[in-house]
């Protein structure tokens, strides 16, 4: 598995995690969905930690609950029981408004289908999360340009999503996710809609963010190749969490 080159090979050695503080504490989390009159358990007694600077891949078959777990950690869904503490904040105790405010400053999102706003340019898309901060227009511009430089798309900032390739759109989405310098970056199948070359570029970019900027990344993926970029891989199966290192 490690004989093949990985997307992270060009970005230096993986950081040593043992001495790093825990940034995400998932404690006895349960989640079930109601389908008609049936209660379908999705996550059962999930319990694990993520350390600062960790690059975690969540893998598992369809329906295993990995996206649900990602949504819970990202604060866009609610647990049925248990708690999730991120950076010292128990996000399961926050109401919708507090959670929205918390997400705006602490979480960066990367989706499978990029989810850029089609009527906004790359620049305007990346600027969106900054609209909720108190930054001035000039400061916002500075941050956006820097984020677009990180993903090597500064020259395409005035282009609309429809004028960009899938890989470029995903890079803009990553720039949007990191522009606020969030505590964690969550990515749901970030390479799921891309060809192999673009997927490789995206994973390389995420490795760079993790290894050079120390960004904590939690990524859901079906793709073992993409998962190779992670330092820790956890498998979910039928709502239960297993653990494996790459």
């Amino acid at each position: 598995m490690t004989d093949q080159p990985t997307p992270c090979d060009d970005h230096g050695p993986a950081p040593v995690l043992e001495n790093r503080p825990v940034i995400v504490e998932v404690r006895n989390v349960n989640k079930a969905y109601l389908r008609g009159s049936h209660i379908i358990p999705v996550l059962r007694e999930i319990h694990f930690d993520i350390r600062e600077g960790e690059f975690l891949a969540l893998m598992g078959p369809s329906g295993s609950g990995k996206s649900t777990l990602l949504n819970l950690i990202a604060g866009i869904d609610k647990v049925d029981s248990g708690s999730i503490v991120i950076g010292g904040v128990d996000i399961t105790a926050l109401d919708e408004t507090e959670l929205a405010r918390w997400r705006a400053t602490h979480v960066g999102f990367v989706f499978q289908f990029y989810n850029l706003i089609p009527v906004l340019t790359a620049f305007e898309n990346v600027e969106l999360p900054l609209q909720l901060t108190g930054l001035s227009r000039a400061e916002r511009r500075e941050h956006v340009e820097m984020a677009l430089r990180v993903v090597n798309l500064a020259h395409r900032m005035d282009h609309y999503p429809a004028q960009l390739s899938g890989g470029e759109q995903q890079r803009v989405a990553i720039a949007r996710a990191v522009v606020t310098d969030p505590t964690i970056l969550v990515a749901d199948e970030p390479t799921g809609d891309l060809d192999r070359a673009s997927a490789q570029e995206i994973m390389s970019l995420m490795c760079r963010l993790n290894r050079e900027s120390g960004m904590t990344i939690i990524m859901v993926t079906h793709d073992p190749k993409a998962a190779e970029a992670a330092q820790v891989i956890r498998h979910l199966d039928k709502g239960y969490l297993n653990h494996a290192h790459p």
Binding site: I76, A100, R103, F113, L120, L128
Partner: protein, 385 residues
């Protein structure tokens, strides 16, 4: 903030859909404005009435005359300042389609009672001194190309024969609410001719119009006049000019109610059309709203996006509709001025158009907003892809 930019860009994402919706709103507002203007035109006579004027007519019906001899007794009633009289002449100019209202009036008292008819002093003097002289409203004079000094012949329908008049004056209204399509001539000319041709119809007037000193005493003055002629051969019915005009409008009240209902129905229909557009729009963008929420934008922002877009589309259509109402109303007034002599778009109509536009925009956005704000982020994101 990029919110305004988002309204505009979102509004034109589906250019055809937005264009058709704006067109629908434009037509609805135009129709609404025209119907309201038509209703206003119907009430124009009522609105132009003076509180200082009373109308006296035969108590049985307006078609029955009153003796001229009543004028002296009416003058003696307390509170009466001026007495005038006249007849609906009903003359036809060349052919019946050239209809305009024409009256035989006692000129001096009539002009005294109607200061809103503005006539140059020289023309006024010329009219008063010529028994066969006539005054035409500016609109009717323009329509037929009459000038002061022209001879006009009307064919009598109620009073048979060809009646020749010389245009001695052309009046303008003091404001837009004054009917400029009327034609007045000397009652004496009518009466003298009747004396010669049909003596039994001489000395009869169709109505009296009187001026009163105090509008608050209109009821008392009316009662006193009617009491004076109680048990006579021609009992009178005295009422305010407004009530008199209203009696004509009330004859067509059912039509007016129907027009008003139709104008409301039009707004309800367009409300449904815009609501459908906004529902489609919001359904398509549920994923985007979920992304906004994910990024930390709250429900108010989502609501603002939907309401802003809905109001933008609605007010754009409203603005175009209002803009078109003026030339269409002007064309309508030119074409059907005979039936609607006072036909113009009132400020209240424009305000009602605007209110309708805002109402349509707000109501259309309610359900899509409720849905978009309530949807869970995870469910919204699932719609993408």
């Amino acid at each position: 903030m990029r919110t305004l930019k988002l309204f505009f860009r979102n509004a034109f994402r589906h250019k055809l859909r937005t264009g058709l919706t704006v067109l629908g709103i434009t037509i609805a507002i135009l129709a609404f404005g025209m119907l309201r203007t038509m209703v206003n035109a119907w009430y124009a006579g009522v609105e132009a009435s003076s509180a200082n004027r009373l109308v006296i007519r035969n108590a049985i019906s307006l078609v029955f005359p009153l003796p001229l001899a009543y004028k002296d007794k009416i003058r003696q009633v307390g509170g009466v300042t001026l007495v005038s009289w006249g007849n609906w002449f009903g003359g036809v100019y060349i052919e019946e389609k050239n209809f305009f209202p024409n009256f035989a009036v006692d000129p001096r008292s009539f002009l005294g009672l109607y200061p809103e008819y503005l006539i140059p002093d020289m023309q006024r003097a010329s009219f008063l001194s010529d028994r066969k002289g006539a005054v035409a409203g500016k609109k009717v004079a323009d329509k037929f190309g009459w000038k002061v000094g022209d001879t006009v012949t009307l064919k009598g329908t109620i009073f048979p024969g060809n009646w020749e008049f010389t245009i001695r004056a052309i009046y303008r209204g003091k404001d837009r609410s004054v009917d400029e399509t009327q034609f007045f001539f000397h009652w004496d000319y009518l009466d003298e001719t009747m004396k010669k041709t049909t003596p039994r119809r001489a000395g009869q007037v169709g109505y009296y119009i009187i001026g009163i000193a105090n509008p608050n005493l209109a009821g008392e003055v009316s009662a006193a006049i009617d009491a004076t002629f109680k048990n006579s051969l021609a009992e009178t019915l005295t009422e305010t000019e407004k009530a008199f005009q209203m009696s004509f409008v009330s004859m067509t009240e059912a039509i007016l109610v129907a027009i008003q209902l139709v104008s409301i129905v039009i707004i309800v229909i367009i409300m449904a059309v815009v609501a459908n557009t906004m529902a489609m729009t919001a359904r398509e963008r549920i994923g985007e709203y979920a992304v906004f929420k994910t990024l930390g934008f709250g429900g108010w922002f989502i609501a603002g996006l939907i309401f802003g877009e809905s109001l933008f589309i609605s007010l754009l259509g409203t603005a175009v509709g209002i803009g078109l109402t003026f030339p269409v109303a002007a064309a309508f007034a030119d074409y059907l001025g005979t039936y609607f002599p006072i036909f113009f778009v009132e400020r209240e109509t424009v305000l009602m158009d605007l209110a309708a536009g805002v109402l349509v925009g707000v109501v259309a956005a309610l359900f899509p907003t409720w849905r978009a704000v309530r949807i869970r982020i995870a469910d919204g994101l699932r719609r993408i892809g």
